[in-house]
């Protein structure tokens, strides 16, 4: 059942929030052992949230925009009273004493916080293979990765274990897993959604955003969590928009550009699906043209310099003093080095070393400063295209989900797979990833995502076009999702997640 319909049934009293929650908890019991999407299921919290929503509804009061809908939360976003491991041994036993602003807003809008989802350690990864809590598996093929770093949130939605989820996106960590698992995910403009209470990876790039089965789902969650926050000094003071009300299908005459540089290295079957999506858009009255954004070919290099540099600084707080893992040691320096060496995983250490190197004396100008200058060029190139175009589109990834273990030993290949998504973070833009079709091979049907990029703070146009395109191609996607869920684990006694 679509999230929109579940919400309608809750509001009309046909079904209670508690009944909805119990259906999803049952589905987690069935599908999570196969996929490992959750680090922690928050049963008591979720039951209390659902009971509160039901109580308000019984009294005739409105429980908020999300009115009893379960939401899964990536495990780098703080939920008061729950663990927040960031996928790391470093924070194995840490309990958050406060809510992130996004979580507080979810609660205020009546959401049911169903669980904390698995992720690449400290959001550093593109496959959810670097978590200290095991690999998350792609429900379309359990031998494949779900993408990352928000792989747990994406799989929770794709496999029907939660209708909605929150993730974070520093270089594509919402959009790439959304594409790999056949769902929708939105990376909001830099500053639209508060990062207070979210473990920082690279502060000039990090964003918190929604994942859902449909574009409408993303619009609903964005509406609930967006807006100024005095606890995040980078948050924009722009007013909140009723995004779900803006999905009016009015797309005729919009101009959409597809950059030739973002099609380099795209596999033939994904390119075929992309071309089909472009034709569908043209059929909807959208003007589609090829454009050039020359500087994006340098985006991956510049990104990994900047992100690693910022990460090396942000993660210095994990030193065994105030919270997190502390290794036994006689001397202070030994305590720092051992706590960090034992608590942090390989990929995190790799990026801290890289970041410390590029910020070091003698290297800063050659790497960090130059990367920041290239970032200016990327931003200028996007600005220029946006003078003539309303949106930019590309595939969300060069190929479908890769096999578990295929890239984990080769960091450079893993990094280069993020070419499509990274430029959006570098330029502070917003972008939606939505399913555009399937690549079929060897009896498998694997989803591939379309990325719709918008100007800063123009989420409305991105969501409107995404929603209209979904009306055209969504039927096939829904059918495939239903078949995948049944194959993964029979959907019993629960029409909601079918």
């Amino acid at each position: 059942m679509a999230t929109k319909d579940i919400l309608k049934h809750i509001l009309s009293g046909e079904i209670s929030a508690t009944e909805v929650l119990e259906s999803y908890l049952k589905r987690i019991d069935e599908a999570d052992p196969e996929t490992n999407a959750f680090i922690q299921v928050l049963e008591p919290t979720a039951r209390a949230n659902a009971a509160r929503a039901d109580c308000l509804l019984e009294k005739g009061e409105t429980p908020g925009l999300l009115a009893g809908l379960p939401v899964a939360v990536k495990d780098n976003i703080c939920v008061k009273g729950a663990g927040c491991t960031c996928g790391s041994k470093m924070l194995e036993n840490w309990i958050s004493p406060y809510d992130a602003t996004t979580v507080r807003r979810l609660r205020e809008q009546g959401a049911v916080l169903i669980g904390k989802t698995n992720m690449d350690e400290f959001a550093m990864g593109s496959s959810t293979e670097t978590s200290a809590y095991g690999i998350t598996r792609n429900p379309w093929d359990l031998k494949r990765v779900p993408g990352g770093s928000s792989g747990g949130s994406a799989v929770a939605v794709a496999a029907g274990m939660a209708p909605l989820a929150l993730g974070t996106d520093t270089g594509g960590s919402i959009r790439q897993p959304a594409g790999f698992t056949g769902i929708c995910g939105l990376k909001p403009s830099y500053g639209l959604v508060s990062r207070f209470g979210v473990a920082a990876y690279a502060s000039s790039l990090d964003a918190v955003g929604p994942l859902g089965q449909t574009v409408w789902d993303c619009a609903l969650v964005l509406e609930a969590v967006a807006g100024a926050d005095r606890l995040d000094p980078t948050s924009s003071a722009r007013g909140r928009v009723a995004y779900t009300k803006k999905l009016d299908g009015n797309v005729r005459g919009l101009r959409v550009g597809f950059p030739r540089e973002l099609l380099q290295g795209v596999s033939a079957p994904v390119k075929e699906q992309f071309d089909k999506a472009l034709s569908t858009m043209e059929g909807m009255g959208i003007i589609v043209e090829e454009v050039s954004i020359p500087s994006v070919v340098h985006a991956v290099d510049a990104y990994y310099v900047i992100a690693a540099g910022e990460a090396s600084s942000n993660l210095s707080k994990f030193d065994g003093v105030r919270f997190g893992k502390r290794a036994p040691a006689e001397m202070l320096d030994e305590m720092y080095t051992r706590s960090r060496g034992e608590g942090l995983g390989k990929e995190v250490i790799r990026r801290i070393i890289l970041g410390t190197f590029v910020l070091g004396a003698g290297h800063k100008e050659q790497y960090y400063l130059r990367a920041a200058q290239v970032r200016t060029l990327i931003k200028r190139d996007f600005d220029k295209v946006f003078e003539d175009f309303d949106l930019i589109v590309s595939p969300a990834s060069p190929d479908v989900a890769f096999k578990i273990g295929e890239k984990i030993q080769d960091p450079l290949t893993m990094y280069l797979g993020d070419l499509m998504t990274i430029p959006v973070n570098m330029a502070g833009l917003c972008a939606l990833s939505m399913p555009m079709g399937f690549v079929r091979s060897g009896g498998l049907s694997l989803p591939c995502g379309l990325q719709v990029i918008g100007k800063p703070f123009d989420e409305q146009t991105v969501l409107r076009v995404g929603d209209s395109l979904e009306q055209e191609i969504g039927a096939e996607i829904r059918q495939e999702v239903r078949a995948m869920r049944r194959k993964l684990s029979p959907v019993r006694e629960c029409e909601l997640v079918d």
Partner: protein, 95 residues
């Protein structure tokens, strides 16, 4: 380029065994070789971008006290506490 991973690991306060240092040196050399492509880009006169705040719509926080976490709550997360302070091992042998 030879990267002194041992020295960098010390600066970042990371305990890395010799085998890990060797492996990481090789991986970093490959990654940095790719990143040196940035040197080919003409950035003459281009200012750096360090952040992307919504410059026209940022607001200064009101200069007023507000509720924060209580000290006892914060200290609950600490691995070791003495008289309400974070307790750590001594800094040097001689003190």
């Amino acid at each position: 380029m030879k990267i002194d991973v041992k020295q960098i690991a010390y600066l970042a306060r990371l305990d890395l065994g010799e085998q890990d240092q060797r492996r990481m040196a090789g991986e970093l050399e490959t990654v940095l070789a790719h990143m040196r492509n940035l040197l080919k880009v003409d950035v003459e006169g281009v200012p750096p971008t360090f952040t992307l705040g919504d410059v026209n719509c940022l607001q200064l926080a009101e200069d007023a006290p507000h509720e924060s976490l209580r000290r006892e709550v914060v200290m609950e997360s600490a691995p070791s506490v003495l008289n309400g302070y974070f307790k750590v091992p001594r800094e040097s042998q001689g003190v």
